[in-house]
């Protein structure tokens, strides 16, 4: 009896503890769309306090257990792109390192000598490589290596995830095999990638090398294609020119070759694991005006408990003085580090930042299940957005959103008027149940009962309660449906399993709303959880993508953002803020705008 009781207690204890850990870990952003995005902080960026020094080790502490992907064709997380792009994985173009967000969002040549040259119709782009580019074995990095890297994106049988802009934009016919019974139907294009080789001539016509110049022929005008090449267009050694390298295909992500100032010395995934980067002696600094390469070593420590991580960096003792946080400060420590959401306390003045993160948070609404726009408007109007934000942490959590384009996207953003006049009258931050009831009455149909899907964390459990209560005031019945975070997107993308609306977040792939509006509200881009099928909207997106004049295009995105809000494809909640910090002996510590990351390429340790 004694043992039975004990085993029962132990099972319960483990179960509860397990639940707590799961919930705590889910508290970090569980979205499967962690992407790059421009940021411009509401807080002042601290100025570096020391002259840059060469040498030492910078430690990165993270709760994550591994990087999503280091393969140049698969890396997609903004922080990962920023870190590896600054250390081992150069791209044709990249962004300027600057504390000024407007400057930092500016493109510059990286492997390429400049930001590329387009023809008059922007459907053909050329980039010329710099002289003296090398791989970590000292061999020359050639145009063929860039071409080979791009070709891997087409190998859908081996490279199973990552950005697919190459497939989307290059002028290569789609796969003629559509019968699912045929194994070749897995390919997205008529070119099956370098491992299979089918359609190689199609690829060679679309991507060609002439000496050091690589040319891309596109299937449509892409005015910002030189931004596109920051994502998934990085080189991989062409086996033909590098016989010593066996392209490990899918497992290349575990040990990619470096063309930057560092190379991988050790990579052990999991809790307690490390990624250690050491100097790449073959790197030619003269070919790289961007990366300063100050520290001798970068060490990433995986699986650090976030509470422990915060305390280590606050204490900043020993090696932790050279540590930076790869994540966010825990809510309970914000008052220790900041006096308000924009201002660090004196002890953290030069080592803490509070800036917009890349994400706009919103609730998607399945427009096929809720086709009546008045119903969707009623949902938006009924929501107590102020309480939702307060539950997330108040002003530290961010600003109330009015669309899916954040203000830090510069000229792409304009107020949508969603909460002022878009629905005919102003909507208070706390919601307007009476107005919601009126909209339901105007719809001519009864409001259906709703279910809200969300990736479960303790905070979102409370968010669900707030949502249900505020909708109830407007007579809308909502059932909250918690889903384990790891399974969330797998479920909500399933037409059968998903319910009427749910939680989501999104950040752009580069500083242009072309990577927001299209992916979220059309089937191209793969994040159309709202299941929008409005042809007029799709046509308008295509028109905007083809617009070569930047100012005109920006206005078109503004209008589409407003139209999407008028139709309430989503209900925007917050434009998120992120607070993070580092140790006392590492500088400069500011959030680099293009990816909302640390400025890795110019970081150094101080004595």
């Amino acid at each position: 009896m004694l043992r039975s009781d004990r085993w029962l207690r132990r099972a319960l204890a483990i179960g509860v503890s397990f639940g707590l850990v799961v919930a705590a870990c889910g508290g970090t952003n569980p979205t499967a769309s962690p992407t790059a995005g421009p940021t411009a902080g509401p807080g002042d960026t601290p100025a570096p306090t020391e002259e840059p020094k060469t040498g030492g080790t910078i430690y990165m502490l993270t709760q994550a257990e591994e990087f999503d992907d280091i393969d140049p064709q698969r890396a997609y997380t903004g922080e990962d792109l920023a870190f590896f792009g600054s250390t081992i994985m150069r791209s044709l173009t990249s962004f300027i390192f600057s504390t000024d967000a407007a400057v930092a969002n500016t493109l510059q040549g990286d492997l390429a000598t400049d930001t590329g040259t387009a023809n008059a119709t922007a459907d053909e782009w050329s980039f010329t490589l710099r002289d003296g580019l090398t791989w970590e074995d000292g061999s020359e990095l050639t145009c063929e290596d860039v071409k080979y890297g791009v070709s891997r994106t087409f190998a859908n049988d081996v490279i199973v995830n990552g950005p697919t802009y190459a497939v989307q934009y290059l002028d290569i016919p789609s796969n003629p095999v559509t019968d699912e019974a045929d194994a070749n139907s897995v390919f997205l294009s008529g070119y099956y990638g370098p491992y299979n080789g089918t359609g190689q001539d199609l690829f060679d016509e679309a991507v060609s090398c002439d000496g050091n110049t690589i040319t891309f022929k596109l299937n449509q005008p892409v005015a910002d294609f030189n931004y596109t090449v920051t994502l998934g267009f990085s080189p991989v050694p062409d086996p033909a020119g590098h016989p010593d390298l066996e392209d490990a295909g899918e497992q290349y992500t575990l040990r990619p070759w470096s063309n930057g100032p560092y190379k991988i010395d050790e990579y052990t995934q999991g809790n307690g694991g490390h990624l250690i980067l050491v100097r790449n002696d073959a790197w030619n600094a003269e070919s790289d005006p961007i990366r300063k390469a100050y520290p001798d070593v970068w060490q990433v420590d995986f699986g650090i408990d976030p509470k422990v991580m915060d305390q280590r960096i606050i204490a900043s003792e020993g090696d932790d003085a050279f540590a930076i946080q790869y994540g966010s400060i825990q809510p309970e420590n914000l008052e220790t580090v900041f006096s308000d959401p924009e201002t660090p306390n004196a002890d953290f003045a030069t080592r803490a930042t509070s800036d917009f993160d890349p994400f706009a948070r919103y609730y998607w609404i399945d427009t096929q299940k809720i086709p009546n726009v008045k119903h969707r408007q009623a949902m938006a109007v009924a929501l107590d957005r102020d309480a939702i934000r307060a539950n997330l942490g108040g002003e530290y959590a961010g600003a109330l959103g009015d669309g899916v384009i954040k203000p830090n996207l510069g000229d792409q953003y304009a107020e949508t008027g969603m909460w002022t006049d878009l629905f005919g009258q102003a909507v208070p931050d706390t919601g307007d149940p009476d107005f919601a009831k009126q909209l339901i009455a105007d719809s001519g149909e009864p409001m259906p009962a709703l279910t809200w899907d969300y990736p479960q964390t303790p905070v979102r459990d409370q968010e669900a309660a707030i949502l249900v209560a505020s909708f109830a005031l407007a007579g809308i019945t909502v059932t909250a449906n918690p889903i384990p975070p790891g399974q969330y997107y797998g479920i909500v993308f399933d037409d059968e399993a998903a319910h009427e609306f749910g939680w989501a977040g999104w950040g752009p792939d580069w500083p242009n709303a072309s990577t927001i509006i299209g992916p979220l509200f059309t089937d191209k881009g793969g994040w159309n959880i709202s299941r929008v099928q409005d042809q007029d909207f799709v046509d308008a997106v295509q028109e905007a993508l083809a617009e070569l004049d930047h100012d005109t295009q920006a206005k078109m995105w503004q209008d589409l953002n407003k139209l999407a809000m008028e139709r309430v494809y989503v209900i925007p909640t917050t434009f998120g803020l992120s607070q993070t910090f580092g140790g006392t002996k590492v500088q400069p510590l500011y959030q680099w705008a293009p990816y909302g990351s640390w400025p890795y390429a110019e970081m150094y340790v101080t004595p």
Binding site: L188, G272, V308, Q487
Partner: protein, 332 residues
């Protein structure tokens, strides 16, 4: 005895088979779609279908299970029609497409960490639990007994995540008595000092809860034995009290404790999720929680199978030991 061993071993085999069946289908029925999870951001129905084929999820579940079991005994090849097939030699517990590694490789890397954590924690709690439990029994009703039972009550009441965090914050971060724990491959044979610095607090964390339990258990067992007739007989024969306690009371009283300890150790070898996470130890517990959070089904299945096998094996060993100690068990 031989017949008993054969029966029990066959039973274990059957149990393992049922376990593998349950684990496989239980996780196959989970609502998570691995094809979607490995799809990343730039996802489309076509990519999901490609992934489903790549992950061999487009074949009937029965065939998937056959391949799973076949892989354990004969090895298997993943992505067979891919130009880059992945060979997984027997015993193959699966392949994690999220981490691009064989499941067994990851388990083999994590197992030594959990092994040393379990052994150290086990030794600590057994020494502390038995010693103080015996003292409490011998000093029943006196201040020593009350003190030990008070400590046991407190220790038993504190959850391991609380103990771990308190130890971490005070011993490492505020008092700087130890460096941040950092497990390195090759420990403890390499960097013995670093090994003890890394494992000391995790051992204490694990041992606290268990030691408290074993204090109470030991005390109760010894006191129960003290009430037996043969102890009274031993005393009546005029044996010294020391001999009565050590030779007669403890020997009989500790037998069920050792049996329980064997099962607890096996349980711990399956991974100590909380402790490993707090102290950043790359053991099986950490691997398990990471796989669950990522819905990495092959890894979850592999770890569950290994951990459950350890428990089943430990049960077998315990049963056999019982059979040796108590012949009635063999015919029961």
């Amino acid at each position: 005895m031989a017949g008993y061993i054969v029966r029990r071993t066959l039973g274990m085999g059957l149990l393992l088979f049922l376990l593998s069946l349950t684990v496989f289908f239980l996780f196959s029925l989970m609502p998570a779609d691995p094809a979607r999870l490995t799809c990343g951001k730039a996802c489309s129905p076509a990519v999901i279908e490609a992934n489903r084929h790549h992950l061999e999820l487009d074949i009937p579940p029965i065939e998937q299970y056959q391949r799973f079991v076949g892989g354990i005994f004969f090895g298997r090849t993943f992505s067979q029609d891919s130009p880059r097939p992945i060979e997984c030699e027997a015993p193959c517990l699966g392949y994690s497409f999220l981490r691009n590694q064989e499941v067994l490789t990851m388990i083999a890397r994590a197992a030594p960490v959990t092994f040393w954590l379990a052994i150290g924690g086990f030794a600590t709690w057994m020494v502390v639990g038995l010693t103080f439990g015996i003292v409490a029994a011998l000093k029943r009703g006196r201040w020593q007994d009350r003190t030990v039972m008070g400590i046991a009550l407190v220790g038993y009441s504190l959850p391991s995540f609380f103990i771990g965090l308190v130890l971490y914050f005070f011993v490492i971060l505020f008092l700087h008595l130890l460096p941040n724990p950092q497990w390195k491959s090759g420990m403890p044979f390499k960097e013995l000092g670093g090994f003890f610095q890394t494992m000391l607090l995790p051992w204490i964390t694990i041992a606290t809860l268990n030691a408290a339990f074993y204090m109470r258990l030991t005390r109760n067992q010894v006191l129960e034995v003290f009430g037996e007739d043969y102890i009274r007989t031993a005393r009546a024969k005029g044996l010294r009290e020391r001999t009565v306690v050590i030779k007669h009371a403890l020997r009989a009283g500790l037998t069920p404790i050792v049996t329980a300890a064997g099962l607890d150790l096996a349980y711990l070898l399956g991974g100590a999720i909380i402790t490993e996470n707090i102290f950043n130890l790359p053991g099986l517990g950490s691997l398990a929680i990471g796989s669950v959070l990522a819905s990495d089904l092959p890894l979850i299945s592999g770890i569950t199978l290994v951990a459950a096998s350890l428990i089943i094996f430990a049960n077998l060993v315990v049963d056999l030991l019982y059979a040796v100690v108590d012949p009635r068990v063999r015919v029961g």
